[in-house]
Symmetry: C2
Subunit: 215 residues, 2 copies
């Protein structure tokens, strides 16, 4: 990587008209997502890997194994970029050129540090758990000192962030409006299926059954 | 980026036990996904952006505006990495340490070239359309020469690829099996909602109504 102190702001915008920089939009999308895609450089190549993440104020919490070279390298302040994308629907225009998808996405640039204090790591893991499935943390066995020791927990400061959002119907060329095909939006969303119990307790807890995100 | 001729193979594996390299697994996940996350380097920073993509044999098709600096830079053979991740469920173990998600993911490394011949671009855009929504291409107005001209179409060779797959129930520590909480898997999947017509044709085509991916 060449040296550059400047944190990127808007280079990636392919559709600048969809860009939003306000904090509420950025935070809302980060809080609604589950999987982030983290990019970093190593050995002269760009890498991207999927990770669970959670927002804790103005930073993102990530975790992995202390045995991971990636975690060690990132935790030393390496430059990173995390994208979160929620696909909301197919936008079926009357031409391929105007076809699109409805989506919400955020791209965050920042550097990460490793959290080392046990209480700090425990707090961050709780934030992660509360983000993935609110209510779960209170039910499970708390982390042991050994588990905390072998878990690498990173906090990535949100240095800059850009949200992009597309909503609404297709935008066809006026000449295409009489083209004889169906046009419109096919909404897409994530839903939860029937919980599959492991062990003797068959009735899932309310925080699973009533999770409004996946009804 | 430092120079390195070697294409990465296994560096990113945080859970090597879940890694698979066979072509059928890699292709199956690429074919099942809709949004890829493309990483590249620019100005000394890693970038990652969400993109529609499609597999065409041993290459991935990407597209964007010819006005995009990114597209021009990538189309000149820049090193890139694309990840596709399908989230299949929450794996609720009895400890945070053993909690996980079921997922299928692929990480592809390769370099892209810009397609320039009109017929080649048209073929690639059709592959993209057929991947996103099979059946749609035959219904819509074909691309005009002008639309093809202002659309940048990239073909990224799959130089190396790694799939990771986790399925099945939680793997708890034996001592945790009596911990008094529900454990199991909550499956997650993408579904399509009620199509929202734009214009006068209200009945969506069969390839929307019968798309098995989203029932």
């Amino acid at each position: 990587m060449q040296a550059s102190a400047k944190v990127p702001r808007s280079r990636v915008l392919r559709q600048p008209q969809n860009a939003r920089y306000d904090r509420a939009t950025v935070h809302g999308i980060l809080d609604a997502g589950l999987i982030g895609h983290l990019a970093f450089a190593a050995d002269g190549w760009p890498y991207v890997i999927p990770m669970l993440y959670a927002r804790d104020g103005e930073r993102l919490i990530l975790h992995g194994s202390v045995a991971s070279r990636l975690m060690r390298s990132l935790g030393n302040g390496a430059r990173a970029c995390l994208a979160v994308t929620l696909l909301d629907g197919f936008v079926l225009a009357r031409s391929a050129f105007n076809a699109s998808v409805n989506y919400r996405s955020v791209v965050v640039f920042g550097r990460a540090i490793s959290l080392t204090a046990e209480e700090e790591k425990k707090h961050a893991l709780r934030v992660l758990s509360d983000h993935v499935l609110p209510g779960r943390w209170a039910d499970i066995r708390p982390p042991s000192p050994k588990e905390l020791f072998v878990t690498s927990v990173l906090a990535m400061q949100i240095e800059t962030a850009t949200a992009k959002v597309r909503t609404g119907p297709p935008k066809d060329d006026p000449d295409d409006l009489t083209w004889p095909c169906w046009a419109g939006v096919v909404p897409l969303r994530m839903v939860a299926g029937e919980p599959q119990p492991d062990g003797s307790l068959s009735a899932p807890p309310d925080y699973v059954l009533q999770d409004a995100r996946f009804r």
